[in-house]
């Protein structure tokens, strides 16, 4: 167990270094100058040089990357003229565009993305597991076929199409809801939920299709296993056989699927945020990429990588806790 965690930690560190190095590499292999964007049009050579120096772009890329890593571990000092600003570890630097600390930019937008995904995870897990369960218990009957149609449709519908269709129906035709505007949970829980219904549903359609399919296959597989037959032979009520024993076997793999799918979820959350104009992490990625805002993109990559690895580790631990046969190594 300890060994497992240590190994995970080790690979996490390697992963993060590689990823951020790739980001720095990409940005420097490409002839786009962030200073031009910061400085604006009509900036002359001398002014550009000043901006270059301020952003640290006059140093070789390896030095810049080294400073970035240094900032992460021990913090770093920024000097602009006489003032020296200390940025404590873990320091992700300052945005080229807005001069704000990257860490606070991310922290500021995290609640939006968390609200979106957390709510949606609950919705799609419940929907997916129930539909998959019903589908498996009614195998090859009409209900099963209808659910299969939903699965195929859900898997084939990108979030920016399903989201637009939902908007069209609920905001356009029926006028039940207004176009979503993000309201913090702490400010007004009802408005928070009301505004997030459509984004949640958008993510749920796609993700619950995945879950339905997995639950269905898992259930069909476990239901045909020997120990289930034994339980039935003992005369255990069907409700208990299905609800307790079969479902457990079928759902365990879902834990790790949720983690493997985490990257997909991030991407879809990003698209959903862009569609509904929610000021979350996804929107920040798109904006900062378009502005060649290197520190923000590097910081976000780091955060996303961290989240992916953490999700996988937690899933492994949960998996081992639920299924005693699994040995962590």
């Amino acid at each position: 167990m300890t060994l497992y965690l240590l190994r995970r930690l080790g690979s996490l560190l390697v992963l993060l270094v590689v990823m951020t190095a790739v980001v720095y590499g990409i940005f420097y292999a490409i002839p786009a100058d962030p200073a031009v964007l910061v400085c604006g049009k009509g900036c002359d050579g001398a002014q550009l040089a000043v901006v270059h120096h301020k952003l640290g772009l006059d140093q070789p890329v390896t030095t810049q990357y080294w400073h970035f890593l240094e900032g992460l571990v021990v913090g770093r000092d920024y000097s602009s003229g006489p003032d020296v600003t200390h940025c404590a570890a873990p320091c992700l630097g300052y945005s080229f565009q807005t001069d704000l600390p990257v860490l606070s930019l991310i922290a500021q937008r995290l609640p939006v993305s968390l609200s979106l995904t957390a709510g949606a995870v609950v919705l799609w897990t419940i929907t997916g597991v129930s539909l998959g369960l019903v589908s498996a218990l009614r195998e090859k009957r009409l209900t099963d076929r209808l659910i299969t149609v939903f699965v195929l449709g859900g898997l084939g519908t990108p979030v920016f199409v399903s989201g637009l269709l939902l908007l069209m129906v609920f905001c356009g035709w029926l006028q039940w809801l207004d176009f979503p505007v993000y309201v913090p949970l702490t400010e007004d829980p009802v408005a928070w939920a009301q505004n997030l219904i459509l984004p949640w549903l958008t993510l749920t359609i796609l993700q619950s299709a995945i879950f339905t399919r997995l639950t269905r296959t898992g259930m069909l597989e476990t239901l045909s296993e020997d120990h289930i037959r034994t339980f039935r032979a003992y005369g255990l009520p069907e409700r208990r056989v299905v609800g307790r024993h079969a479902l457990r076997g079928a759902l365990t793999p879902l834990i790790s699927i949720n983690a493997v799918e985490f990257g997909v979820v991030l991407v879809n959350a990003m698209l959903t945020e862009t569609l509904f104009g929610l000021p979350g992490i996804g929107q920040l990625i798109v904006q900062s990429s378009n502005n060649v805002d290197l520190p923000v993109v590097a910081g976000l990559t780091l955060t996303a990588g961290l989240a992916v690895v953490l999700a996988n580790t937690v899933a492994d631990l949960l998996y081992a806790a639920v299924d005693r046969r699994v040995v962590l190594a």
Partner: protein
């Protein structure tokens, strides 16, 4: 009988067997109605994309001409008439604010979508097969390193990198080619994993051992004995990547880093449609349903092929 054939036969015999197997797969596929429907729609869509200029000429429109006289300037440039300005001249109506013909733009959008999807598939196959082959055949260290890389590439949100990359490549670089490279570069993990699995199982076959004993070099064994055996399976599974590639292209164009205007793309149309869903629902429906139809048709066809080969792997579950 198969036993004997496997031992003395070549690699293609080892995996898929004689033509009888192919015939059986075809028969299964023909009796699979959803897959056949997918095939018909796919063929029609590809024909429409190929003959887009012809079809647009038939309608008498092109993708770039503005028809501002068809727009209601009092309502912010929404097309006059019902259904977003559908008429005998404009079969699917016109775009709000510009009045460009939607039928023509949707057709040319199909061209971009399919070109990028197929081009990306080539990149994915080249990368995936090469890396999978190296991992499966290159010894323990190569397998461990490449295996990690494959896992990483599958679980990582690649679209993030893709956006950063697309945003900063100079505009002069041909955009569709760039999209193929970027989407392919970040999405080869599945192909690599599958190839690796195939290679690992083929490696232990007797005919490979025979080749080795007869003095063939590892490179030759990989190229001549293993690769031909692994390819049919890999190619079949790769078909399922096509709809995913179409969605990626549309997604990137939706985020504004795909093809540049005035080239039309479904994703880009959908992105503009975000502000028009109330006033002009037709503008959402045309690109939206085009994309959905294409994705669904390709998926049904690819899934049907896969189900015919390996019923357990089908999206539609066991039958």
């Amino acid at each position: 009988m198969t036993e004997v054939v496997t031992e003395i036969g070549g690699p293609d015999v080892a995996t898929s067997g004689p033509p009888a197997r192919a015939r059986q797969v075809l028969r299964t596929l023909r009796s699979d109605r959803p897959a056949m429907a997918g095939l018909v729609v796919t063929v029609l869509l590809i024909l429409a994309a190929v003959f887009a200029p012809l079809l647009a000429a038939l309608e008498g429109q092109d993708t770039t001409t503005f028809h501002t006289q068809l727009l209601d300037s009092a309502r912010g440039g929404v097309p006059h008439g019902a259904l977003g300005g559908v008429s005998a001249d404009h079969w699917l109506g016109v775009e709000p604010t510009t009045g460009r013909d939607l039928f023509a733009r949707a057709l040319y959008g199909a061209r971009i979508s399919f070109t990028v999807a197929f081009g990306t598939l080539v990149v994915q196959l080249l990368l995936g097969v090469a890396i999978g082959l190296a991992a499966g055949f290159g010894g323990r260290v190569a397998d461990a390193t490449l295996g990690r890389l494959i896992d990483l590439s599958i679980s990582f949100p690649q679209l993030m990198f893709a956006i950063a990359l697309l945003a900063i490549v100079p505009q002069s670089f041909p955009r569709p080619v760039l999209l193929m490279l970027v989407i392919g570069l970040f999405n080869w993990g599945g192909t690599a994993r599958l190839t690796r699995g195939q290679v690992l199982s083929l490696k232990t076959r007797d005919y490979v051992a025979a080749a080795r004993l007869s003095g063939a070099t590892p490179a030759r064994i990989a190229r001549r004995e293993i690769l031909p055996g692994a390819l049919p399976q890999v190619l079949t599974y790769a078909a399922i990547l096509l709809p995913g590639n179409m969605v990626s292209e549309a997604g990137l164009s939706f985020l504004g880093v795909g093809v540049h205007p005035p080239t039309s793309s479904w994703g880009q149309m959908l992105s503009t449609a975000t502000t028009w869903f109330r006033a002009d629902p037709m503008y959402v429906l045309v690109p939206g349903l085009s994309l959905l139809t294409a994705v669904l048709a390709f998926t049904l066809l690819a899934d049907g092929i896969r189900a015919a080969l390996d019923p357990k792997a089908s999206l539609r579950g066991r039958r």
